[in-house]
Amino acid sequence: MTETPQDLTRQDSVRRTERGSAFLDVRDLKVHFPTDDGVVKSVDGLSFQLERGKTLGIVGESGSGKSVTSLSIMGLHKAGTAKITGEVLLDGQDLISASAEEVRLLRGKRMAMIFQDPLSAMHPYYTVGHQIIEAYRVHNKVSKSVARKHAIEMLDRVGIPQPDRRVDAYPHQFSGGMRQRAMIAMALSCDPELLIADEPTTALDVTVQAQILDLIRDLQSEFNSAVIIITHDLGVVAELADDIQVMYAGRAIEYSSAEDIFERPQHPYTWGLLGSMPRIDRERTERLIPIKGTPPSLINVPSGCAFNPRCNYAHLNNGASETERPELLDIGNGHMVACHLSPEQRRDAWETDIKPKL
């Protein structure tokens, strides 16, 4: 991808006033995986900021680059397989150019991650307590017994019954919900300032999901950490997130406050997501309104706007959708959208076509 100077200046103007001051500042992040079939552009120019105490929801379908983004923030891509460019500034320190050892010392202490599948994220050979103690002792020079006490405290904090006994249990002895709690306990054992939760509740039942979402919310207000929650479930982000970023084919296509995303969505893809979802809180609709087609291959991303083959409004732009990639621009109140449609066209489409059918 060659970037003209014009592109760069435009993106600079998009980056808002917080530049450099945000707790987490991701700037033009690109993660490319060279493969035999071609370069997989999993993340292709992503910028966002996040303050402490705030929650950012990243929404998108599989292959939109949401998990790859979080793994690159955590520095978890295997060296050599991924080509990462751009900057990820955590409190001013760039994580992309930092050495693996420097990032390792930050992991756990300053930033931590909750994975989707706690059974494969925890080591089956060690007890749950052992794993929490290990994480704690890497960053804190304390004796084993102090660390153990801390582990029991953390398990108690996340609501595991009889934590003093459960600390010696193995991951397989826990139910799915309890494993997820144990992983949250591990992630929070060193009071991280940045917590990334990658589909934290997707594998869980709805009643347990509600418990875990409550838990993440409570712990966030207690620790005042910055939280990124990655999910495909718009219900989950509506519950937790202050801001929402919608991703498609490796780029952010809409970014705004959670309220704006649900009340005044601007991008046709966001409309598509909202229409695809049956709503339990509304009158039942006769039919869902799916997005036509399938998500694109990340090796052959459609030219212009990556969403154009699936977009019902692409024909309104005299071909601009096929040739020119729309930049993510602020349309007021920090609501950013990457779409060629004019504000009037978007308003018309939303008010007449989409909103009445939701």
């Binding site: 799915g176 009643t207 979402l213 509506a238 309220e259 997501l273 695809s276 809180d281 039919r287």
Partner: protein, 364 residues
């Protein structure tokens, strides 16, 4: 209320003709231990189900993992042998029908699986996969199998040119369509769909849900849908059965289940669904169930939900509430139903007295 109402499995459905009826269905998986493989216990996966499925309707089974919904689906399709009970399909008792006798019936009862990756043979072409039912059943079609398969592919929204491709060349949504095409090959009457859309992305999920609805209309299909996503269930179902630890705790038509749930568990499930509406953030009244679902190896006595229920009283630990029809077409198994009138409350109480469930403790 009369005693007729306390016999759930024989309650006639309001309209239409009965396609499938299930009475007292039980499936226990034995747990064996030791050198002699003596049975030391049983996983009580399904424990006394009774319901009917009317022609042309969609009945959904919902519940948390481990509630026995998938086992029920596999019992209905006779992929598992029931421990007890009776399954009647089109007036024929198929509960313990031999494999040979069952085979012709398999044309009428088909299944859609959850995992679009695991349920297609990676070494077979799409043509071979979708054509397999014809071959196995010895069905000759007009114009040959290939033509029939290509018609099926078109029907589910795939291109006929896909005939010679392999499953790995398709996305998850397309694979699920291949599975659906295979299911439809023999024009079944009943389709048991086990989480047909839960492995798919939201936008694709909507496509498949719409496809299933179109096919139902076109071929007059009857669905038993197994799902955990309550929003999807509300969208597709005519009636919904809520399961908890191997039992149906509530069975009602869609509207009355979602608008006036009577069992506390249903209420808790519904209140736990995250609502994509920021205006309700934090305002939503949520019933927090404590802990996890108990083990089906050693389920709680009497009402199985009493360990997590906020309304539970002493009677819930002693007498199992039977599944009774408290409102037309709305069956609930609870001593203290929600949204109930005084009459309905009384009906629930008298039913529990006259006809307590079999898990009730013996009265001393």
């Amino acid at each position: 209320m009369t005693t007729a109402n306390t016999e759930p499995s024989t309650t006639p459905s309001p309209v239409g003709e009965e396609l499938l009826s299930v009475t007292g269905l039980v499936k226990h998986f034995p747990i064996r231990k030791g050198l002699l493989q003596r049975q030391t216990g049983a996983v009580q996966a399904v424990d006394g189900l009774g319901f009917t499925v009317t022609k042309g309707e969609t009945l959904s089974l919902v519940g948390e993992s481990g509630c026995g919904k998938t086992t029920t689906g596999r019992l209905l399709t006779r992929l598992l042998e029931p421990t007890e009970g009776r399954i009647v399909f089109e007036g024929r008792d198929i509960t313990h029908m031999s494999e040979g006798k069952m085979r012709p019936l398999r044309r009428d009862i088909q299944m859609i699986f959850q995992d679009p990756y695991g349920s297609l043979n990676p070494r077979h072409t799409v043509g071979k996969i979708v054509g397999a039912p014809y071959k196995l059943q010895g069905v000759k079609t007009e114009g040959g199998t290939k033509k029939a398969v290509q018609e099926l592919l078109e029907l589910v929204g795939l291109s006929p040119e896909h005939y010679n491709r392999y499953p790995h060349e398709f996305s998850g949504g397309q694979r699920q369509r291949i599975g659906i095409a295979r299911t439809l090959a023999l024009r079944p009457k009943l389709i048991v769909a086990d989480e047909p859309v839960s492995a798919l992305d939201v936008s694709i999920q909507a496509q498949v849900v719409n496809l299933l609805e179109d096919l139902q209309e076109e071929f007059d299909l009857t669905y038993v849908m197994i799902a955990h996503d309550l929003s999807v269930v509300r969208h597709v179902s005519d009636r919904v059965a809520v399961m908890y630890l191997g039992k149906i705790v509530e069975l009602a038509d869609r509207v009355s289940l979602y608008e006036k749930p009577m069992h506390p568990y249903t209420l808790a499930l519904l209140s736990a669904v995250p609502i994509p509406d920021t205006k309700r953030k934090g305002k939503q009244e949520r019933i927090r169930l404590q802990g996890d679902v108990p083990s089906p190896i050693n389920p709680p006595p009497a009402c199985r939900f009493h360990t997590r229920c906020w309304k539970a009283q002493d009677i819930c630990k002693v007498i199992e509430p039977p599944l009774v029809e408290l409102a037309p077409g709305h069956q609930t198994a609870c001593h203290f139903p929600e949204n109930a009138t005084a009459e309905q409350q009384a009906a629930a109480e008298s039913a529990a007295k006259t006809n307590p469930g079999k898990d009730s403790l013996p009265t001393s």
